[in-house]
Amino acid sequence: MVIVMKSKNIDSIINSIDRLPTLPAIYIKLSRLLNVQDSSIRMISDIIAEDQAVSAMVLKIVNSALYGFHNKIGDMQRAIVILGLNEIKNLVLATSMYKTVKQFKSSSTFDMEEFWKHSIGCAISAKVLAETAYIKDPEDVFTGGLLHDIGKLIHATYLSKDFEDIVADVAETGSQMFESEKKILGFDHVQTGSALAKKWRMPRKIIDMIAHHHLSDASDTLNREVAAVHIGNTLCISLRMGSGGEKRVPIVNQKAWEILDLKLSDLEYIIQRSTQLFEESISNMEFK
């Protein structure tokens, strides 16, 4: 009975939190502008320039070994031309989410820096999988990977007492965190995370990647984007890229691997490329 009542209340929990992480204004403006046909590169670079910290970080990353350009790219307009709008939007979301996560305090049960690394590790692994499997918009998969565990941030911050019990249960039983969450809260982080993404008016595709990335339920939607985030999550936990609090590697759903239509011999390349991009991204964003 209690469980039923609790699970009905995810939306009210989300609505009652007054310091809910907000989707950075710059990302919302940028998404809106990118949907308008006659937006110019000048307009886009002006919006990014409004947030100095984000634009400085984007330029730093553009000039890093991650992209390997020979000449220094000094201004945003050139960066947009060279990288393309989707990649820029990606970088803006990653850097502004990084700023958001940094505002929250780590606790003994949830380390923000580790959580950030886990998020970026999953985003990168999922994107590399998407590119290797020729998924149409690997950028969307990156976004889905970046936000897949955002519900954990809400639980750790606003339901901190329950969260302590969840962490203890994960350690004791070796369960996946979503199983302990269901036991203790009556709902899990994919529900909270997707409710938040809905509130942020994220596209349906992204909400699905957050909501179904565990593929734990027969009713979960399985498409190629969800599969990439599902497997990206397992890869980054196996490779110990940061931590979202899980103690064990989640077993990959075989159907998810099949739907990507990749060969097992592709895995070594995928892991190698993801690890390399991860190291470079992390060195560009020092968590202080």
């Binding site: 064990r248 590697v249 077993i251 990959v252 097992l264 895995l267 070594e268």
Partner: protein
Amino acid sequence: MGMLNINDLKAGMVLAQAAVNRHGGVILGKDHLLTEKYINHFKTWGITEVDIKDINSDQVIKQEMEALSNDVIESIERELDELFPHFEANPFMEEIYKIVKKISLKQAANQTNGYSDEIEKY
């Protein structure tokens, strides 16, 4: 001969087949002796594996393990067994376990060989 991952190459190995990039272009011909310079060149060209004479990938893992003490190998295996749950008949999970183990052994081998300040990026 056997296909070896780019990260398993060492100077002194000999190409059994020409090393080709993703578009099929030949970067280095058959029978060439590898040097560090060529190996770096392959990386720049995005080559992920090449065919090498007289060795295969299982032998590489074996060689890595020979350089390590039993204690180190056991502690790596223990750590991975804690991290990975039991899985049955799941080829994907078997493959990823194998790759993660190889990376861990390699990092440990590099550390014992005194490259600890510059752990080779996998």
